[in-house]
């Protein structure tokens, strides 16, 4: 087989893995959300969906959800702008899924006499790629709101746009310090940089070098994913959100978008602040090393997701003015302060 064919096939395998990773974990997150909230509230949680009497702790509920979404009537109201109404969820979900392709699931390992890069799309600007695609996701939301032909939907879309654009500024600014230390915009290079040790024992992870940046990024990330305590765009219980005119799988795609964006944010946190695929004090090589890299990265992503989920079920929702105040008046200045201090620190240290 020629070199070209192997390269293309390997790329397909990696991208398929990234998409499967995102979709499967997004499905599982529906289960995690139900069960985690149930256990921490002294409840049992959804446990009734069964196949031939087998329930496995309610693990069939995501399947039942998907079946329900797919078989529900896809009702399109008369006043909507049809092409954009159909396009909006595809844009929202599609660009979220594209982000996954640039996450560093693993480094480069040498197996069978050749080097295999485990990052699906390697690029010297993969961080900008992810952040850019995340912000295109806003277009799907606004398009959904505008095409709905409903004032409730439009107002929800305005809230979503204001919140997401505000916090995407913070998202980039919070990462500036870490990227300055690593000296790269390549997520892969950033992870490789974090493989070193400080004083010979402490792994040089971003969370130790940039604790403030980590907290700011996690907060801004939670806001960008539009989940509680920042779920004002949806406001499912009282104010109605941008997907008010959607039903069936189109609504399901918006639901999925939130989960996918959570996974992307968790992936970024894992890659930039938690050492990505690195396992501290262990040098990973060969086939086993490659598998361990992917496992390590996945475990870190899942732990961050667990934390985000716990925050989602612990805190009450912010008011809309509080959200914008927090973003523009508190997080953004702190991000810039963090960046300035980092720059001076690196300058004086050198």
């Amino acid at each position: 087989m020629s070199e070209m064919v192997i390269q293309v096939l390997w790329l397909f395998v990696k991208v398929a893995f990234a998409v499967a990773f995102g979709m499967n974990i997004a499905g599982l997150l529906g289960w995690v959300e139900r069960k985690q909230s149930a256990v921490m509230q002294d409840r049992v949680g959804a446990n009734r969906a069964d196949i031939f009497g087998i329930t496995i702790l309610g693990l069939f509920h995501p399947l039942a959800d998907a079946l329900k979404m797919l078989t529900k009537e896809d009702f399109v109201p008369a006043k909507v702008h049809k092409p954009f109404h159909g396009l909006a969820p595809i844009i929202a979900l599609g660009f979220g899924l594209l982000c996954l392709a640039a996450l560093p699931f693993g480094g480069t390992v040498s197996v069978a006499g050749r080097l295999w890069d485990l990052q699906p799309i390697a690029s010297p600007m993969s961080l900008l790629f992810v952040l850019g695609l995340l912000s295109i996701g806003v277009h799907g939301i606004v398009m959904a709101a505008y095409a709905s032909g409903s004032n409730y939907g439009l107002l929800g879309g305005l809230r979503a746009a204001a919140q997401m654009i505000s916090y995407e500024v913070c998202l980039g600014a919070a990462l500036a310090g870490a990227m300055f230390i690593y000296g790269t915009l390549d997520l892969q290079q950033a992870v490789i940089w974090q493989g070193r040790l400080i004083h010979g024992w402490l792994p040089a992870w971003g969370i130790f070098l940039q604790p403030l940046g980590f907290i700011l990024f996690l907060t801004a990330g939670a806001a960008v994913t539009k989940r509680a305590p920042f779920d004002i765009p949806e406001g499912e219980s009282e104010i109605i959100g941008y997907h008010v005119e959607y039903s069936g799988m189109k609504f399901g795609m918006f639901l999925m978008t939130d989960f996918i964006e959570s996974i992307v944010i968790s992936g970024l946190v894992a890659a930039v602040f938690l050492g990505g695929w690195q396992i501290p004090w262990v040098h990973l090589t060969g086939m086993a090393g490659g598998v361990l890299m992917v496992v390590s990265f996945s475990v870190k992503v899942l732990l961050v997701l667990l934390l985000l989920m716990q925050i989602r079920w612990t805190l009450p929702r912010f008011r809309f003015d509080q959200v914008l105040d927090l973003g523009w008046k508190k997080i953004l200045p702190l991000c810039l302060l963090n960046f300035i201090v980092t720059v001076w620190g690196v300058y004086l240290w050198r």
Binding site: V39, M40, T314
Partner: protein, 180 residues
């Protein structure tokens, strides 16, 4: 009347509370404690060590029996005298007070001259009953109680919801599922 003005004190927050991160962490500590303690309890339960506290307060109702309060008003029960005759004297007080008009009594002469009157039929349509308990309160001879502690009354047709005197005294067994 003079207008009274009540000024509401805004709660004062110190710096740590304003940063909110400490408060978030305190909240997370509580929820994480619940999460891990309950997970441990669930695990112990799954392993068969059922001595500890249960991991959830949920009552898995159709499998486990429903837990009713001591004073729960449930299905009606008609009481008997010592000799086995119904206590009801067909005075129609319960039928009169019933706001849902679900009690229907026809009276007849009682063979016991002291009692004088007794119920020939005593039907309660549980499809109409609102379980207010007025009938039990109104009864002068303590003949009707609402303490059968049965809440599974559903049937497949409305006629089966009409309970007769012998059903409510327990002389005949009314099986809702059999009425299909």
């Amino acid at each position: 009347m003079a207008i009274t003005v009540r000024s509401v004190e805004r709660p004062k927050h110190n710096f740590a509370e304003q940063i909110y991160l400490v408060e978030v962490w305190k909240g997370l500590l509580i929820t994480f404690r619940h999460l891990f303690v309950n997970l441990a309890r669930h695990t112990l339960y799954a392993l068969g060590l059922k001595n500890g506290e249960p991991g959830a307060v949920t009552i898995q109702y159709p499998e486990d029996p429903a837990v009713l309060g001591h004073r729960a008003r449930t299905r009606h029960r008609l009481l008997k005298r010592a000799d086995g005759a119904p206590r009801c004297t067909a005075c129609l007080l319960c039928e009169t007070i019933c706001p849902a008009k679900c009690i229907h009594i026809t009276a007849e002469d009682s063979p016991d001259v002291i009692v004088e009157k007794r119920a020939k039929t005593f039907d309660i349509d549980l499809g109409l009953c609102i379980f207010c308990g007025y009938c039990a309160e109104a009864c002068p001879v303590d003949a009707i109680h609402m303490d059968a502690n049965k809440v599974e009354l559903c049937t497949y047709d409305r006629k089966s919801l009409i309970w007769t005197i012998s059903d409510m005294m327990g002389d005949t067994q009314k099986d809702p599922a059999a009425s299909t």
